[in-house]
Subunit: 206 residues, 2 copies
DNA sequence: CCGTTTAGCTTACAACTGTTCGCTCATTCT
DNA sequence: AGAATGAGCGAACAGTTGTAAGCTAAACGG
């Protein structure tokens, strides 16, 4: 086996070990270099042949997680073309991602407000992809001015993302409810932005 | 000094030490019993005279943070009565809380998706107070049916809460923008729910 | 084919961590 | 006054952590 090939192989072993140790009760911050190395089948010190420190590993994990998110978006687009309902399809696709890759989603969720500024901005960047893409769609499909399209997209992504977080702790029987509730909330946003967007002045008690 | 009084005093010293060590780069999980004890001015072993372990301390901190949140709600209500605009006043009050007690807010934000199920549900409970109170207000002020009022309140709290999270990493110059954007988003929700709530069927590409 | 490169190893160290045990001594209770 | 309680302490233990130094051996480049 080629040398570079073997190196890449144990690099992947490290990454996979790290992902597999993430769970509901174990965040990236609570991983230890030694434990990861153990599961990857290498000596602790060999870790340094691949990453300068745990932070570098963490940023790699965030990048990979972001990659999965983008694949998800592509998949959602395909389903939308067949299905028609943008909101319903998007929310359902996202919920499937959350429940099917809960550890990956947890990584993004936690590091978004974690203790490393580098991690936080890396996650924020990945989420911005979502927002930008959705905002562009809204600009095309509606008559929304640019700035409002972005604000609307931000709100939608925030709602979907954090309903996903709720789903992590909810029993599976709640998924359907959470999904349909989120769909309703996004429709409210879309509807409100469409009819209210051009007169954002205060009126009434709200 | 009375014995009970002295005990309460060092208990507070522990709690204060813990709060003061929380920061952008230090989460509760990364606090150490010994460091907290050091700052509180007691021996590490004396910690156990007040808390069974760090988790018990953590739950206490979450409770105190929840208390501050409720005081905040009370304060917001008073300001609303004078000011009139519910949404604007609520958002502004909350943003003041976030920027003025950022470590307290960070605790709630992080433990909401942290590694301890007990912490997660403790934080979730505190947030539910917000939601329940807002939902009741919506039921009174609007013609919304109960279930929709709750969904609307959940969406609003989620948006405000996580815009607060964004504010933590944003420069102070962005606060005004974040505040007004959130106000707009909440108005969209209110408006959309009011006019769209009674016919939640799919229509159009959204 | 021989010298260089390098992934991976073993050993070792210093710095923490949480927690147990037994003691002191001021406050409290009887 | 005398006994009991309990907050606080120091020493010690067993476990973990990250990381440095130096070696081996296999793949590589000339």
């Amino acid at each position: 086996m080629s040398r570079a090939e073997q190196k890449e192989r144990t690099r992947r072993a490290i990454i996979n070990a790290a992902f597999s140790q993430l769970s509901a009760d174990k965040s990236f911050a609570s991983l230890s270099l030694r434990e990861v190395a153990r599961e990857a089948g290498i000596a602790p010190t060999s870790f340094y042949r691949h990453f300068a420190d745990m932070d570098e590993l963490g940023l790699t994990l965030v990048d990979e997680a972001g990659l999965m998110l983008r694949q998800l978006m592509r998949q959602a687009r395909q389903r939308i073309e067949k299905n028609g309902s943008v909101i319903r399809t998007s929310v359902e696709t996202f919920m499937e991602f959350v429940t099917g890759n809960s550890n990956v989603f947890r990584l993004l969720l936690r590091e978004r407000s974690g203790t490393s500024a580098a991690f936080r901005s890396a996650v924020a960047r990945e989420i911005q992809h979502f927002v930008a893409e959705l905002a562009e769609y809204l600009r095309k499909e509606t008559t929304c001015p640019d700035e409002l399209a972005r604000a609307q997209a931000e709100a939608m992504v925030t709602l979907v993302f954090h309903t996903g977080a709720d789903a992590l702790d909810a029993p599976a029987s709640q998924y359907a409810y959470l999904t349909s509730r989120t769909i309703t909330q996004l429709r409210w946003l879309a509807h409100g932005a469409a009819s209210y967007g051009r007169k954002p002045k205060e009126q009434g008690p709200l």
